[in-house]
Symmetry: C2
Subunit: 607 residues, 2 copies
């Protein structure tokens, strides 16, 4: 998205690492990026944007700096965290209270913390004091929107999205969009997830029983956010889950999502059968107090659906889904997340935590796509969406998975119909199973298709999917690949302003402004490095040719000659008339010729 | 595609580098790959396949080896070339003659060869003796097909595609498919391009004025073919063009395409205005005699279309298109490729060279997609398709380019209608311009969409697109990415057998047959390497867990339990009835609830 100047008041900061917060740029092209702010004159609300300085065109005409969506983070010092700038907005509403919260429990960090008497790297910053709604109040953005209240969060989002704040409020009220921002995560910059807005992407991080540390996860958070992740899910399943999350939330400018059943399972030493509603409820409250913004809840995995997966090629592949399926089977009782769903709604309403209704029965192979198990669960997710809305709790619905390309569209259209437009949040989907190592690509293809038809947020897939845990490079590749899918879908939806970055980059390309071409790209570092592999010298960055054709002949140069000769309005108007005439003739010719040369065939084309 | 056993007679060779021809496998997973043959008992025609040995399932049941499409190459010793196995088929038809051919002209290799008195590495193998049709005969596969003749080339293709040979013959006769195989490239293994068959991919290689050598280009040919390129285009524009092409053709098991205007331009020292029909014609004959299988001819760039590009964001981006546009403008005359098109058809008919009708006015930016210039040229390409078919010359039509996702489908549907089903061959298209460095991905998204609706062959795009010349890694990434797009489209089209590889891999995944999962993937080396980054030890490849969940909890294990309990036919039948009942109830609930909670809105959703 670009943000035009006319309706906004840009207040530009001095650029540089200290203000910007990003690691120092490693390439020339990133030096043209700086942090600027759009300011709402009425309220003083400021929204960060990246301002990209551009060189003049070869004809000497200046090119306005290009502004694009970003967070002001992730420039925090990890041990201090980000400033809790949203706290004053929350307190001004006077519908919440600070309280002592749940007591520190070493088991929250797993058995090794109990043994040691501490997590391996306790949070060093200011100890956060949790808040909750005062008794009887609901503090969700959906609630405010339905009351007709326009919050600063909504105004912030409207500035970011370059749209009318009433669109934000009305979409929230209708449940067609959510702003996930727990009152205990005042560091987060409000963002909106809904099909009327820019398509968003989520990056998964988190440790596992096998590998990785707290510092690595904070580093991945900052890295993913730097490249454009709109939300981050902490899917840790190993040691130090509570403390890892604390570090992540305190440093995160984007909403944080979790799957609380993962931590609950750690608390019962990995024995799914030993899970109880009480353990789960306590884990949810723990996470609400920390500031988790949305939680995946697999409440649609009903006992009676489980057998529907028996003859699938890959059964149940969702970790949360299989935990709950295993629990249901072991106890021969209904899923406790379903039976206690209203209690969960009451809790979420006091912190403004959004549901991400998990698709525990999503297909794990293209062979299992759109089957009875998947769609039975979707029916239940639609029912749960309605129940959450009764509590004014924000909801999005998760979707698959592995789906062949021609079956992708049905997923989003069915979800949108059944769930009355609640935001859809999908993992890919992967359109083939044959390319482990390249599943960022197999899934970006499906993600573009599903977002085109209304999916609001895409969960990234990295090259390591199915094979191992992503490292930093994989996180970056996953984020950039999903920025591509999201942006391609914005273009396909005709989202206002989406094409402006494409056009600016294409213009730079046509004019051989190489540095601008790099600077405007989603990954300036890679673009510049690839260029330099063939033509490393600095003069090549202003050269009016490239390594594909070389200096002797250049197609762009010929195009410039054509423009000089025929580009005027008069010659174009004359041409339009002439071409309309030619068209008719050509079609006549074809209509006549077609009958003569095509033999009759018994095999239909394109079987 | 998998090739079932029942109708074919597999004759397996001893596996190993010497027979297989591939470089020795560097990973465990490739050791299970071997070269086998499908044999047509009636004619003795043998078609190579990769046979992938699989381990037994955990329940002890054996898994049949999986067979998949491949070439027998690229195992040649570059200095000898591949055996000309198709020569006997060609000679048996007794409609061609050997002749002395055009004389060796040092300028064919550029000015530096003239200076030196030789190309920098002259072809060392047997000097090829060119053949052509005897006077008055047409030797194209289209001609034979229209005469009702079934050639060995058609039988070879039917075995490869696992389809009836009559489908091959009739699609060729109708012009809806082509088998590009010049009689002077008897080393090539016949393959078919048409929407009734598997989607194919092309890899571009070739040197430029700036960089690279003959040996590198032969190496790229073998590398691209090893990973699955179905055709290769030699787009060389630097020195040694003739000789580079000789080495490539003699070593290529796949059809070779070129853009002869590139070489013609070298012969006039890069001065487009100095080009003549005579120089171009001589270059085409030179390439016909060498064995080029299809040639891109930019005959649709008409003088009157050129001004239509004047107000585009990126003008004319096709190199061939801009050469011809420049020529037309300089001379104020019609494109000589258009005015001499029938002569070209007569030449192509004597060697069985296929047209690839170039889209010289394709959009180079999403802003320019589907515009008047592009579609005016397509009208002319449709006219030229008919004219080539009058000569029984095979034709495919090239397509864009840069096209936003929602406009992609129109491109193929329009081309198919106007060109009466002639195969469409597209470059991507890229669905956004903002990701240089990742254009293999931006274009694979568009490629999957365009192939789904009938595009027959996809020209790959590498990560270096717009930035530099691809190296070996880029070639591999481009090929694998496009194998993904082509296969995803085959799945989406419901192409017979396309899903079998996905299902085999998914089954291996579910059963924790890690080695089989790697071996069945498009890039076993990368899949195995990624797995080993997290869990390198050999036991991990038979472990019943992975690094995502770790050993304590495993969703796949729970799924196995469910299958053991509910997988029988009886319990599934009972379930189907029960679920149908539940569905109704759930829909009732939603219908009632939907009215209560959704406020009326003035802003329409999904604007």
């Amino acid at each position: 998205m670009s943000t035009p100047n006319q309706q906004l008041n840009p207040a530009r900061n001095t650029p540089g690492a200290a203000t910007d917060g990003n690691p120092p740029p490693v390439t020339q092209s990133l030096k043209s990026h700086s942090l600027a702010y759009l300011e709402d004159a009425g309220t003083g609300i400021r929204v960060p944007v990246t301002e990209i300085a551009l060189e003049p065109s070869p004809n000497g005409i200046a090119n306005q700096p290009f502004r694009t969506y970003r967070t002001a983070g992730p420039g925090s010092n990890p041990v201090q965290g980000l400033p809790p700038f949203r706290r004053e907005w929350i307190e001004a509403r006077a519908d919440t209270e600070a309280y002592s919260g749940r007591e520190r429990n070493l088991l929250d960090d797993g058995r090794s913390a109990v043994r040691r008497g501490a997590a391996s790297a306790e949070w060093k910053g200011a100890p956060p004091v949790p808040r909750r709604a005062v008794e009887g109040r609901t503090v969700t953005q959906m609630h405010y929107a339905r009351q007709g209240v326009t919050t600063p969060e909504m105004r912030f989002v409207a500035l970011r999205e370059n749209c009318d704040v009433e669109l934000v409020r009305s979409e929230l009220a209708a449940g067609r969009a959510i702003i996930p921002n727990n009152i205990n995560h005042p560091e987060s910059e409000p963002m909106i997830i809904g099909k009327a807005f820019l398509v968003k992407i989520n990056a998964n991080i988190g440790n596992s029983a096998v590998t990785s540390s707290i510092a690595e996860e904070v580093d991945k958070l900052q890295w993913a956010t730097r490249w454009g992740a709109d939300t981050v899910m902490d899917l840790s399943t190993g040691d130090d889950i509570h403390t890892t999350r604390e570090w992540i939330i305190r440093n995160s400018p984007v909403p944080i999502g979790t799957v609380p059943i993962y931590q609950a399972l750690e608390k019962v030493n990995g024995e799914a059968n030993a899970l109880t509603w009480e353990i789960f409820r306590d884990t949810v409250i723990e996470q609400c107090e920390q500031g988790v913004d949305y939680m995946t809840i697999h409440a649609g995995v009903l006992l009676r659906y489980v057998p529907l997966t028996a003859n699938r090629v890959t059964g149940i592949v969702s970790r949360g889904g299989s935990i709950m399926a295993g629990w249901c089977l072991a106890h021969h009782r209904e899923n406790f997340l379903y039976t206690h769903f209203d209690e969960l709604c009451e809790i979420f309403a006091r912190y403004d935590v959004a549901f991400s209704l998990g698709d525990g029965l999503r297909p794990g192979a293209t062979a299992d796509a759109n089957d009875a198990a998947q769609f039975a669960e979707l029916d239940t997710l639609a029912e749960l969406t309605q129940r959450a809305w009764e509590h004014d709790v924000q909801v999005m619905v998760e979707g698959p998975g592995h789906v062949p390309f021609h079956l992708v569209r049905e997923n989003v259209e069915r979800q949108q119909e059944l769930c009355k437009g609640a935001p859809f949040y999908t993992l890919g989907p992967l359109v083939t199973d044959v390319a482990p190592g390249y599943d960022h690509i197999t899934s970006a293809i499906g993600a573009t298709e599903i977002a085109r038809y209304g999916t609001a947020m895409l969960c990234y897939v990295t090259p390591k999917e199915h094979l191992g845990l992503p490292n930093k490079d994989d996180v970056k590749t996953g984020v950039i690949t999903y920025k591509i899918a999201a942006h391609a879908a914005d273009l396909a939806k005709g989202h206002p302003g989406a094409h402006e970055r494409d056009d600016a980059l294409s213009k730079a390309r046509f004019e051989f402004r190489w540095r601008d071409q790099f600077a405007l790209s989603l990954d300036p570092e890679t673009a510049e490095a690839f260029h330099d592999e063939t033509l490393p010298a600095e003069p090549a960055k202003t050269a009016h040719f490239c390594s594909m054709c070389g200096p002797k002949f250049c197609s762009m140069r010929i195009s410039q000659d054509i423009r000089d000769e025929y580009g005027s309005a008069e010659s174009q108007a004359a041409l339009a008339v002439a071409v309309a005439g030619m068209r008719g003739k050509s079609e006549e010719f074809l209509a006549a010729g077609g009958k003569v040369y095509l033999p009759e065939l018994s095999v239909p084309p394109g079987r």
